[in-house]
Symmetry: C2
Subunit: 436 residues, 2 copies
């Protein structure tokens, strides 16, 4: 029986055309991260499952993880996310490193998901993180970088928006103002996380079950109505949380000065689950009606190194997956046409005897850092140009019997249709024309 | 108990410094492959184990493979090599693709190895393959690319050599001349593969066990003595294998014309195991006495698509791993110094009030495609330059109280020590100096 030619469920074959799209996505990620002085890192494909348990808890890691026991009885997993690896690596070096530490990576990750639109089993994810930045500047920088990243893909305010909250504020409201127990607070987080997906009635029912007093309930519902940074400031001030208000004010002032507030809206329902965040949390949403969903999320965390018994080191980061990003760029028609590769020149010959001269020419042009496609056998004139188009070349050389006898070639510029008859001993003229 | 900070056995953490080395290795691979018009592809991290069994047989895949059963009862493996994935992908598209098909990839692969020098469990491997090239031109092109790849790292004939054989010749000798049975031929392949690792006595003993007649034994021992392309031609001619001699002659003529024979030596012991090769087989060896081993191997194969019930399509390819390559470049001192990143400018301020102007300046310079490192808080003058060195910047800006009051900065070129006092409203002058 013949083998299946399709890739494993939920994974993708990247044929050259698909790979060019991925390379384009990654090149803008890399360019943006490096424009902020972030340095690229990478970690292993496998980590011990203990690491993921320590970060996310037993419950979260079991369902979606690709885990197995190796031949040395180690229980390992294919990385489902990069943050635990990042934490492990930062824990090794943070004491000797000058701060802030600015790192980025674009690893492949695997999750055992039911494949559907925007969800696959193997995907790539840009991870940008800054550690040890002063005050709230790490949060500001990460937001600035996220905005510039989308701008570098050609996107603007009409295409995306950032919905943002601050976990410190949520804790102030739930714990200080509402005086919730840790158990109640935990349940409130879950309600907030679901708030946009269910109707008001369902929320009321869930809140009832938490068993808050009426004053706490009122505080909770008015919290859920906050819509702007000013709303938040007024709410905190009204309830005498001046320190919290002033802290958040400093952050808002910075993002306003940098013009980021045009992209960012306060949203009390953004909490990013029960995750390890302690400061701002945010999600970037596609504004297109056909693709209305989160593209990217991130936030600030203080205690990531705790699992290694290391002192707290404040960090801020975000992650952006390749699948949702590609859908976003496609729905907004922001993806360049990458159907064909780009090459400099296609070297052809029309008589068998042209092989040696053509191979020699190709070799010389490669030394000039040109991308050279060769025909390895004589090809007919009329077949040259369709192939040249598919290979995305700018120039073509031809060598028929006349050129061969004179040690010449015809050089044709495909854009301008200009054609030159050139001597093969005069490489300099050829190179000059191609590099012009 | 605190978690272990070390990576999983046999895998590596790529801190920024290590990642820069890897990026450098990959950039030369990509540049070389693209200079030959090869297009980048990638496949899934996991494949069904059936695929590896079909290509390599039960025996080879069991010991070294990371395999497990997924939740949907599929028996899958982390890819230990790229060729089966490549074959699967080519089988999908080869009928509609114009030939030759030239593809390359740099995947991460995992093998369950005992970690030692040059051997790790997770490594990256350049794979270059050409399908459907006419005559022997695919073999010639792959060898040419392998040589240029090493040259692009700065290596030359004193650093590496290519040892080459042709499986068609081996088969001619074993089957046509020696009249071995398939079983005997199989055993002879294994002996040849070991020939360099054992002494003559051991070879004689192994050959005895194959049970050849004395004429066949003599043919075998004289085969093992072949040292040059001329030797091979004489041997084949002497034994009336004229077609085989002429076929190989065409190939040798081409590599001589391209100057490749300076790098390539015939070696009868290179057969690349029992693998799927049908034409040339080669290995690239490090010539350094401290690192005398194969860096890279490849060859030509005709029947890779058979497992998918597809018509034969001749292919030639080679693979080069990152670990052995890095050892090679290190032992020959060919690796550039990548201790520090490269950035364009470090923007600093010496008074707290300088933050806003500095952030604004950084933002403007990023729009000019510059790599900008910012200090997110006021830093002392004497701390600026050590940090600038570590960040590999070419320029530094300073803003003390005097500059702040005049809306100016000091711009310092770290190489020339030139310093300019510039107005922050005059960005054009600043950009001109940095881009000069």
């Amino acid at each position: 029986m013949a083998l299946n030619k399709q890739p494993y469920r939920g994974t993708r074959d990247f044929f050259p055309k698909d790979k060019r799209v991925r390379d384009y996505l990654f090149s803008i990620m890399t360019k943006t991260a490096e424009s902020f002085g972030y340095e690229s890192y990478d970690g292993p494909l496998l980590e011990e499952v203990e690491l993921y348990k320590a970060k996310s808890g037993e419950e979260l890691i079991n369902e979606q993880i690709y885990s197995f026991t190796d031949r040395g009885e180690r229980f390992v997993a294919i990385r489902p996310e990069m943050t635990p690896t990042l934490a492990r690596m930062v824990a090794q070096v943070h004491r000797e490193s000058s701060k802030p530490l600015r790192w980025f990576s674009i690893p492949n990750l695997m999750r055992y998901e039911k494949p559907q639109r925007g969800r696959v089993r193997e995907h790539w994810q840009l991870n940008c993180d800054v550690f040890g930045a002063p005050g709230r500047m790490g949060e500001v920088e990460i937001l600035q970088m996220a905005v510039e990243l989308f701008q570098n893909y050609g996107a603007n305010q009409s295409h995306f928006e950032i919905l943002l909250n601050d976990r410190a504020i949520v804790d102030t409201v739930f714990i200080t103002l509402m005086e919730s127990t840790p158990e109640q607070s935990h349940r409130l987080y879950k309600i907030v996380d679901k708030a946009k997906k269910v109707n008001e009635e369902a929320i009321v029912k869930m809140v009832k079950e938490v068993g808050l007093n009426s004053k706490a309930e009122e505080l909770f519902y008015s919290y859920l109505k906050l819509k702007t940074f000013d709303d938040v400031q007024s709410y905190l001030t009204k309830h005498n949380q001046l320190e919290s208000a002033s802290q958040f004010g400093l952050f808002v002032e910075q993002i306003q000065k940098l013009g980021l507030s045009d992209f960012i809206t306060y949203d009390p329902t953004i909490v990013r689950g029960l995750d390890y965040y302690t400061g701002i949390v945010f999600e970037i949403f596609d504004k297109h009606p056909d693709n209305r969903r989160a593209l990217c999320g991130g936030g600030a965390y203080a205690n990531l190194l705790q699992i290694f018994n290391e002192d707290p080191l404040p960090g801020v980061g975000f992650g952006l997956g390749d699948v949702t990003l590609k859908d976003f760029l496609e729905v907004h028609k922001l993806l360049p046409n990458l159907d064909n590769p780009t090459n400099d020149i296609f070297i052809t010959f029309q008589e068998d005897d042209g092989l040696d001269a053509s191979m020699k020419l190709a070799h010389s042009l490669r030394k000039e850092n040109l991308k050279v496609v060769t025909s390895l056998e004589a090809i007919k004139f009329k077949k040259v140009f369709p192939t040249a188009d598919k290979k995305g070349v700018r120039f073509v050389t031809l060598m028929g019997s006349e050129e061969l006898s004179k040690n010449q070639i015809q050089l044709k510029n495909l854009a301008t249709k200009e054609q030159h008859t050139l001597d093969l001993n005069d490489l300099q003229t050829l190179i000059k024309i191609i590099k012009a």
